[in-house]
Amino acid sequence: MTTHAKDLAVDVRGLRKRYGDVTAVDGIDLGIRQGEVFGLLGPNGAGKSTTVEILQGNRSRDAGEVSVLGADPAHGTRAWRSRVGIVWQDESAPAELTVDETVRHFARYYPRPRDPEEVIGLVGLEAKAGSRIKALSGGQRRRLDVALGVIGGPDLLLLDEPTTGFDPAARRQFWDLIRKLSDEGTTILLTTHYLEEAEALADRLAVVTLGQVVAEGEPAALRERYGTGATVEWSEPDGTPRAERTDTPTRTIAELTLRFDGEIPALRVSRPTLEDVYLRLTGQEDAR
């Protein structure tokens, strides 16, 4: 499928950014289509946050062409800002105000905001609407951050590691929220170093390491392309666990079936997970 540039919500070519001697972003290309959820996946320090900050218009770049909703973020107008929602990595909301007051106030900045009450419900903070922000838990503050990111009814939502510090239940709730926003047609870019998050949410993802995109595509396609082979595991009659890596698992099992003449004890066949692929791509395979 060819995608014309004007269908792209985010179009990045040859993006570069250095901090002193350190090259944070080293020639990144990205094309994010209207309405899709795009995951930027990579280890800490890979250049994800720098990239997102450049897309937000909050950081200058050294080289490359960047178009976000048809405009260069370095010269974002108020009208442009009203269409881009941002959820920062480290947040701070006015501690002395209540959730309700804060969301209502931020709604005033936008030409066509969403209903504050509806947004508070969307992030699941109804019960806390009247509470001061300083009384919220970390996860609740994060949900408030998301509420402030979407209150303007953005066409594009940029989320930088939105679920860092969440417990598993809160993370699931957050995923549901992202899916809801996506169903409404919001284009979403999220960075994460949680693999299962990228796999659960992203229509497409790019794996970034050392400031470069090392792989890009749908999660399943990535797994297929880079995760060849399978691992067959079983137990010998004396209980010794065995494992064999093979490109032809069916043949291995057929042989085992003959040897055991029936059920193979503790049989397990596994394809490489996206995590295996990810670790291989980011050169962290030995970390396992």
């Binding site: 499928m1 060819t2 995608t3 014309h4 269908d7 919500a9 901090y19 289509r33 209207q34 309405g35 937000q56 218009g57 909050n58 950081r59 200058s60 909703l69 048809g70 108020r78 009208a79 800002r81 009203s82 269409r83 881009v84 941002i86 920062w88 480290d90 947040e91 701070s92 909301a93 006015p94 002395e96 105000l97 007051e101 106030h105 931020f106 005033r108 900045y109 936008y110 030409p111 066509r112 001061r132 402030l148 303007g152 066409d155 047609g185």
Partner: protein, 281 residues
């Protein structure tokens, strides 16, 4: 070319962006709400100059030679000027540095809020707290230390413009100095030191006729000295003019210096204001 099913919402005509003045008012209301909800901060902000007025005016109470006033009376306009500077220069200098450090400013910059609305909000905050502070000090001064409210409208008018110009100049300088501290934690030391020094060399704590001329001349470069002088002109009898450096209140020159600081302070703010911390690039 394949057409995607989802029609981008970007093509719906956008509503009108909210106006800057209206948003400035809303920000002002929000700033005041946040300020008054921090009880300890409210109490200390307002009590500080009152306590100092009480201390100085109660310790030094003798008649001032040939001026027809007491030392206590001298401290009332002096502390009012210091109070105006503390609610504007000191409170903005510290609070904006903290807001920058805690990334409140960066978040605002990511919204379509016009930057001017943020500054308008701060001006409303400073205006309301400055009026309250001045009213409290004036009430203490008139009840305890024999300071009379001006009887003619001309003096009230002078009071009005000295208050407004002084407050504006100090607020702008406060916004400018907020960019100096590297972090929110160091903000209060960075802001309080110059304020304290200025109070000593501008005739707040120590009567101007006892301060060496060279110090007073340095103080005269900044707004505080002129605010003190102007408020003495408003609240003290004409006989007290002999204490001044030039033997007169110099209202014209006060207006000129404070006005210049308003313009200069604005330029300084425009040139130096940053939405992000230095280490945030």
């Amino acid at each position: 070319m394949t057409t995607t099913a989802v029609r981008p919402r970007t093509e719906t005509p956008g509503g009108r962006l909210p106006g800057t003045w209206g948003l400035g008012l809303r920000r002002g209301a929000l700033e005041l709400k946040q300020f008054f909800r921090q009880r300890d901060q409210v109490v200390f902000t307002f009590a500080f100059p009152v306590v100092f007025l009480f201390l100085f005016a109660s310790i030094f109470r003798d008649d001032v030679q040939d001026a027809g006033i007491t030392a206590s009376q001298l401290y009332v306009p002096a502390m009012m000027a210091a109070g105006i500077m503390s609610t504007s220069f000191q409170s903005l200098g510290i609070s904006i540095a903290i807001e920058r450090d805690e990334k409140v400013l960066r978040r605002l910059r990511g919204t379509p809020m016009p930057p001017a609305a943020y500054f308008l909000g701060k001006i409303w905050l400073v205006l309301v707290t400055g009026v309250l502070e001045t009213a409290i000090l004036l009430a203490v001064g008139t009840t305890l230390y024999d300071v009379d409210l001006p009887s003619d409208t001309g003096r009230w008018f002078d009071f009005g413009w000295i208050f407004l110009l002084g407050l504006t100049a100090c607020a702008l300088l406060g916004i400018a100095i907020s960019s100096v501290p590297k972090s929110g934690r160091s903000a209060s030391s960075v802001v309080v030191l110059p304020f304290l020094v200025l109070q000593f060399i501008s005739g707040v704590y120590i009567a101007i006729d006892t301060i060496p001329d060279w110090m007073l001349n340095i103080g005269a470069l900044f707004p505080l000295k002129w605010m003190c002088q102007g408020l003495r002109g408003v609240f003290l009898p004409e006989s007290a003019q002999v204490l001044e450096q030039t033997g007169s209140w110099e209202f014209g020159r006060i207006a000129l210096v404070l006005g210049a600081w308003c313009v200069g302070g604005l330029l300084l703010c425009l040139l130096t204001f940053r939405w992000k911390n230095r280490r945030d690039g």
